[in-house]
Amino acid sequence: MNLFAVWRVLPATNMLKWGDMTKHQAEKGHQMRALASDFDPVAAALQQLHQVVASEELPEDFRKILDAIDARLAEARTGPRP
């Protein structure tokens, strides 16, 4: 069965879907081009720099300070330890 024969036997509903899909693809393509023109490589690189550091595990020194703050808060809640 050649392609023309397939075309002939396709129901009308499929033809409509094909038309909708083409329209959808065109819209999607338009959106992608718009996104591409908005893409800012410097901003993307800077955000990535931020992400690399932000995703690191918090070093032990920071935890010690937070523990000390938490201890002060706990002490303030319950009163100083004897």
């Binding site: 490589p41 955000q47 990535q48 720099l49 070093p59 703050i69 938490d70 303030a76």
Partner: protein
């Protein structure tokens, strides 16, 4: 350094405010660390600066008005800390070819790491006034107004520094302005 946390007894309201302050501080730590790292390029010095800013912020928390911009308040403290450190430690301004490796201890992907290393290296060659604006707005998502508040200058100055910083950064990484940063091949 932690001994600076000692203080007088507090009321329940103050205690609740202190707890909120602590929680906001914890949530802000990744941003503070990335800002400091981008500013000075040295991981250990950057972390020391953030720790010092944490302690200074905690010690001065009574002067912070709840409901105002906590992020701007903490970034201001950290920025002041950076310039104080900069005056004392000349290593921060000096160019070092290994700077990118210090900034990026671990990159998520090898291809990304190459590009990020380029950016991190180029960042450290920019003047500090441009670096801080790029880190605040480009990396940490601050608005022009917020950056102006943190740095203590006009919004127009921020825009101008940002534009010059972007132009210089792009030129250093890719040659002529306008070339795509991520189109480079190692």
């Amino acid at each position: 350094m932690i001994a600076r946390l000692a203080e007088a007894p507090v009321s329940p309201e103050t205690l609740a405010a202190d707890q909120r302050f602590r929680d906001e501080l914890v949530a802000l730590l990744p941003s503070l660390r990335s800002f400091a790292r981008g500013l000075c390029g040295w991981r250990n010095i950057a972390d020391d600066m953030v720790q010092d800013a944490m302690l200074r912020g905690w010690a001065a928390r009574a002067s912070y008005a709840p409901g105002t911009n906590f992020r701007a308040w903490m970034f201001m403290i950290l920025r002041n800390q950076f310039y104080t450190t900069l005056r004392k430690d000349k290593r921060i301004e000096s160019w070092d070819p290994e700077v990118a490796e210090r900034v990026l201890v671990e990159a998520p992907a090898q291809q990304g790491a190459l590009h990020l290393a380029d950016v991190a290296r180029a960042m450290q060659r920019l003047p500090a006034e441009q670096r801080e604006v790029l880190m605040l707005i480009g990396a940490n998502g601050a608005s022009y107004e917020e950056a102006a508040e943190i740095i203590g200058c006009a919004v127009g100055t921020i825009k101008s520094r940002l534009a010059r910083g972007r132009k210089a950064l792009t030129a250093m990484i890719d040659g002529p302005v306008g070339d795509a940063l991520f189109d480079r091949v190692a």
